[in-house]
């Protein structure tokens, strides 16, 4: 059995137990063991990078050190965590001077970054460790009536030079995995464009305008739902629709569903076990198409 250290980050445990639940259930069903390590912290995402890049790099490295000590690779659910940790891992492996500098800082916390572990996103584990064929075989409730607007979020694919996740202009992995569930991954305008989530709290009007654009584009393309991989994208688009209602007087009722949830549902997990009440936009229309 393949084991990973599960890096939960901050947002998922604080706000989105439905993501964690569905991911844990799906991965367990697909034969991946998740290990919860002690002492993990925040990954040091963009807001902290904005304050101090060096400290952020050290925090990311500190968390990777914990995985190194446990002799496990890391899997993240949040794409933001994935980016922070994967970039730090990549940079520190590639740049000996930077590594030395960061290790000098880490020494204060009794850690040393060695660079012998990998940081993977949930999606990579599905693609590379589980495999599309296994997923296809294990699907008991194919989603063949569902038209999904795939939205991977920026930090899974960019900057591609450091993340090496997928082709930055023509990503295929997420769509392949959606289609493995029997659903159709539909094209829609500006599919790869950001949701604006990181501007929430600083420039809410701008963030909301960008999110609205995304919802409208998926809506116009006839999507049944938008599937996400990142808790920030989820929040921005799901909660965002409540704000769109009050600000723009528009109602789209576009369900935002984490891929892990779609996966769990197609693997036969009872929707009642998935804490779907944490969705602001109700998921009933999607569930109807799955039964």
């Amino acid at each position: 059995m393949t084991s990973y250290a599960l890096f939960l980050g901050c947002t998922i445990p604080a706000r989105q137990p439905h993501y964690e639940l569905s991911a844990r259930k799906a991965l367990t069903k697909l034969g991946i063991e998740l290990v919860d390590l002690e002492n993990m912290t925040c990954c040091a995402p963009p807001p902290l990078q904005s304050i101090d890049l060096e400290t952020s790099l050290a925090i990311a490295a500190y968390n990777i050190c914990l995985a190194e000590e446990a002799d496990l690779n890391i899997v993240t659910l949040c794409t933001g965590c994935f980016e922070s940790l994967a970039i730090a891992n990549h940079l520190l492996k590639e740049k000996p001077e930077l590594k030395a500098k960061v290790n000098k800082i880490l020494a204060n916390a009794g850690k040393e970054f060695k660079g012998n572990k990998e940081v993977r996103h949930f999606l990579q584990v599905l693609m590379n460790d589980v495999g599309v064929n296994r997923i296809k075989m294990d699907v008991v409730k194919p989603l063949d009536k569902l038209k999904v607007a795939a939205f991977s979020g920026c930090h899974l694919i960019r900057p591609s030079e450091l993340l090496h996740f997928d082709d930055p202009e023509r990503p295929r992995i997420f769509d392949t995995l959606i289609e493995a569930l029997g659903a159709k991954s539909i094209p829609y305008k500006n599919k790869l464009r950001c949701c604006g989530g990181l501007l929430r709290g600083y420039a809410d009007d701008v963030a909301l305008a960008i999110a609205r654009d995304k919802i409208i584009n998926a809506h116009n393309a006839g999507a049944d739902c938008i599937s996400t991989l990142c808790p920030f994208c989820f929040l921005t688009l799901d909660l965002g629709q409540m704000l769109i209602k009050t600000t723009y007087k528009e109602e789209y009722n576009m369900p935002i569903i984490h891929y892990a949830e779609l996966l769990s549902l197609s693997l036969g997990v009872d929707p009642k076990e998935l804490a779907l009440e944490f969705h602001k936009v109700k998921t009933d229309t999607v569930l109807e198409k799955i039964s």
């Binding site: 980050g9 947002t11 002492n39 925040c42 304050i51 890049l53 400290t55 920026c154 591609s160 420039a203």
Partner: protein, 172 residues
């Protein structure tokens, strides 16, 4: 013109200062082609932000305007510009470098200070509510492991991260 701007007016000073920052190394590659601006989801939405213009101002030495303005905080860190830049300017990272500099001058948005305080006290950005803890156990999720906040504190004091906010606290 403000006093501060007159103190540090030269082009070389500011662009060199940026290139010495982590993340700011590539700023001088910029030849102002505008690919970043037309790739930017924020620039498409608001006039308040244009990555090309920020770099232009930075390269012209407009230190005060760049570090005290609103613009640098409007980057959504989507990296679309960086992906497409034909001169390989690491634009999103340059913005981080500029924000790092701005914060050292005491210019920090409230939200970021909140995040930093959360991190320094809890080891995570968002606190876990009692409600969530109960929901977790209701659904059979394992209890959350403690964070390594003590280790983080040692990292903060090594990089001077904690002092950034100490300074801020002194400000009126």
């Amino acid at each position: 013109m403000t006093e501060e701007k007159l103190e540090k007016p030269t082009i070389e000073d500011f662009s060199r200062e940026i290139t010495r920052m982590l993340g700011g190394e590539t700023i001088t590659y910029c030849y102002q082609c505008g690919t970043c601006a037309s790739s930017c989801p924020v620039a498409k939405t608001t006039d308040r932000y244009n990555p090309r213009q920020i770099i232009r101002m930075a390269l012209l030495g407009q230190r005060y305007e760049v570090l005290n303005g609103d613009s640098i905080w409007l980057c959504a860190s989507c990296y679309n510009c960086q992906e497409r830049c034909p001169q390989k300017v690491e634009i999103a990272d340059v913005i981080y470098a500029l924000r790092n500099m701005a914060i050292r001058e005491g210019n920090i948005p409230a939200l970021y200070a909140e995040f930093a305080n959360g991190l320094m006290s809890e080891g995570r950005l968002a606190p876990i509510s009692k409600f969530l803890e109960k929901k977790r156990s209701d659904y059979g999720l394992p209890p959350l492991k403690p964070t390594g906040v003590e280790a983080l504190k040692k990292i903060f004091s090594a990089t001077g991260f904690d002092k950034i906010f100490f300074k801020k606290g002194e400000q009126p």
